[in-house]
């Protein structure tokens, strides 16, 4: 059993250590937050860890679809917070992993309906029962974002190699608590475009963000297919993307994993890029 490693066991021997709550966020939408949560969560659970995935995108939930669990969702986060259902009733067990659970978002409610203090308490409750609580943050930096980060101790920033995604990610890092050390996943990299100088490289992206690099995921059409089918690639032993997600999970679990190998030199074509963030604004 993989245990969270950042919580000291403390003096009280009988109190089990709390799990880690990690928010997956980005600022910009559509960069792959939900896909990342589903795949990293699946990979962590496949290692034997107890994992719960929390969809914090009230009104626009999608994590249930990506996991293929949409028809099994009976209750959601707001039902639990409003005591219309117990936590056990609302947790949906994954089809493939015994130790993986989903807590779905409400689809027909508003983000403003979630009470921040209650959300924090809920994440704390989940940390007592699970090794990892992965929180799927909505796009943007409004109320939904604030409620998604409130119970977490750690953040993973997902960013694609696009100037707009990098700018939004940079903004989000600035909004996280000062004592956090968020880690970066560069998603949807197309090495052949980087080689042609038509896409930012991992170094270009991280030259701006300057975060510890947790992983690099290449762009492949299979991700769309897998999402539409509700079958995370992390379980596919033949998929390179799946193996990249498994490496990220291993790193989160505290294993010493070699740095991601997808590194491409930038052609110097993005000289303009460096000035984007220094301007007025």
């Amino acid at each position: 059993m993989i245990r969270a490693i950042d919580e000291p066991s403390g003096a009280a021997e009988n109190v089990p250590p709390l799990g880690r709550a990690i928010v997956i966020t980005s600022g910009k939408g559509g960069v792959g937050k939900t896909t990342t949560v589903a795949n990293v969560g699946t990979a962590l659970a496949a290692r034997g860890a107890r994992v719960v995935l929390v969809d914090a995108d009230v009104g626009l939930r999608n994590l249930d679809i990506v996991l293929g669990l949409e028809s099994r969702v009976k209750f959601h986060v707001l039902d639990v917070l409003e005591e219309k259902a117990s936590l056990d009733e609302a947790l949906v067990r994954d089809k493939r992993n015994e130790t993986l659970y989903l807590l779905a978002a409400a689809q027909t409610r508003e983000k403003e309906d979630v009470d921040t203090a209650q959300m924090k308490a809920l994440i704390e409750t989940l940390r007592a029962r699970f090794d990892y609580v992965l929180i799927d943050c909505p796009a943007g930096i409004e109320m939904g974002f604030k409620n998604a980060i409130v119970g977490a101790q750690h953040a993973i920033i997902v960013c694609t190699p696009e100037v707009s995604a990098v700018r939004d990610a940079d903004r989000v890092v600035g909004l996280l608590p000062n004592d956090w050390r968020p880690e970066l996943i560069v998603n949807r990299l197309r090495p052949q475009l980087v080689r042609k100088g038509k896409m930012l490289s991992v170094d270009d992206v991280n030259g701006i963000l300057r975060l510890p690099l947790l992983g690099v995921i290449a762009d492949e059409p299979n991700v769309i297919v897998a999402s539409n089918r509700g079958e995370p690639l992390a379980l596919d032993p033949t998929s390179e993307t799946g193996s990249a997600y498994r490496a990220i999970a291993a790193k989160i679990a505290g294993e010493d994993v070699a740095a991601p190998v997808v590194r491409e030199p930038s052609g110097g074509l993005f000289a303009k890029f460096g000035t984007l963030f220094g301007g007025r604004g």
């Binding site: 600022g27 910009k28 939408g29 559509g30 960069v31 939900t34 009104g59 626009l60 999608n62 679809i65 990506v66 689809q107 508003e110 983000k111 403003e112 909505p138 796009a139 943007g140 930096i141 409004e142 109320m143 939904g144 190699p161 696009e162 100037v163 707009s164 995604a165 700018r167 939004d168 903004r171 197309r190 475009l193 038509k198 896409m199 930012l200 059409p221 769309i224 297919v225 999402s227 539409n228 993005f270 303009k272 890029f273 000035t275 984007l276 301007g279 007025r280 604004g281």
Partner: protein, 263 residues
């Protein structure tokens, strides 16, 4: 006569709202219309980057609303097009800095001296969405052929209908070869689920990544296949009847024919 006020929205982020706003707006401007693009994504603005005008920003939408400058002072003219201007969002403020009524007043004022005001909506359906649609009289819903994007678009369509805004659909990032193999939903499927009228079909094209990073709208280069597609969308928006069959990828309609045969 006052110009058209159109919000470009989607629910899900990253489906191409900003790219659509820029390219449809630029295509309209190329056809001689007077166009203003408004970035309402306060705190996470990007329209300026996609247009390549980020260094020219002096004032922004919030400063206009707070009376710190005149509306015309905040407008940035795009010199590559005769009649295209942009109103940037504030980057270091919150969406709550602007109320729905304030946004509506700005959009209505812009429409007094423009043919088209295109409003780039933030992702989500929170306050930023509500103020972005407040000043609009019609909507373009952008979606991709993915289950999650369509579910989010469906939520947004419900909200637009509740607000009394008519909408048309742009299906973005279609990959005909994946539609053919059954790995991607067809445009017909998408329109049927959302029961909306189709305004445009835009194929997935890696050129968009490059031109976005460079801040050069793809419609600037008439040799690009997407330039012709955005021009057709602009014509349809202007009221012309432009058929979908001539230019769009044969794959979509290949699939449609098979569906008819089966059905």
């Amino acid at each position: 006569m006052s110009g058209r006020r159109i919000v470009v929205t989607s629910g899900k982020g990253g489906v191409g709202k900003t790219t659509t706003t820029v390219n449809v707006g630029a295509a309209l401007a190329k056809r001689g219309h007077k166009v203003v693009l408004v970035d309402t994504d306060i705190g996470l603005r990007n329209l300026d980057l996609v247009l390549g005008l980020e260094k020219k920003i002096v004032f922004d939408l919030v400063e206009v609303i707070e009376g710190r400058c005149q509306l015309r002072q905040a407008l940035i003219r795009d010199k590559r097009f005769e009649s295209l201007a942009m109103l940037p969002a504030a980057q270091t403020r919150e969406k709550e800095a602007v109320t729905e009524d304030q946004m509506k007043a700005v959009i209505v004022e812009l429409a007094e001296s423009a043919d088209f005001v295109l409003i780039d909506c933030p992702a989500g359906i929170e306050h930023g969405f509500r103020s972005a649609i407040a000043g609009a009289a019609e909507a373009i819903v952008v979606t991709t052929p993915e289950v999650s994007a369509i579910r989010d678009a469906d939520r947004v369509v419900g909200k637009l209908q509740a607000a009394g805004l008519p909408f048309r659909l742009i299906v973005n990032r279609v990959r005909p070869e994946m539609v053919k193999t059954g790995d991607m939903m067809s445009v017909e499927d998408v329109c049927e689920i959302l029961s909306g009228e189709l305004l445009g079909i835009v194929p997935d094209d890696e050129e968009v990544i490059d031109t976005t990073n460079r801040g050069e709208p793809i419609v600037l280069d008439e040799t690009k296949r997407l330039a012709a597609i955005y021009d057709k969308i602009a014509r349809r928006l202007g009221g012309e009847l432009v058929p979908f069959t001539n230019l769009d990828e044969p794959g979509f309609f290949g699939r449609l024919k098979t569906l008819w045969k089966v059905g």
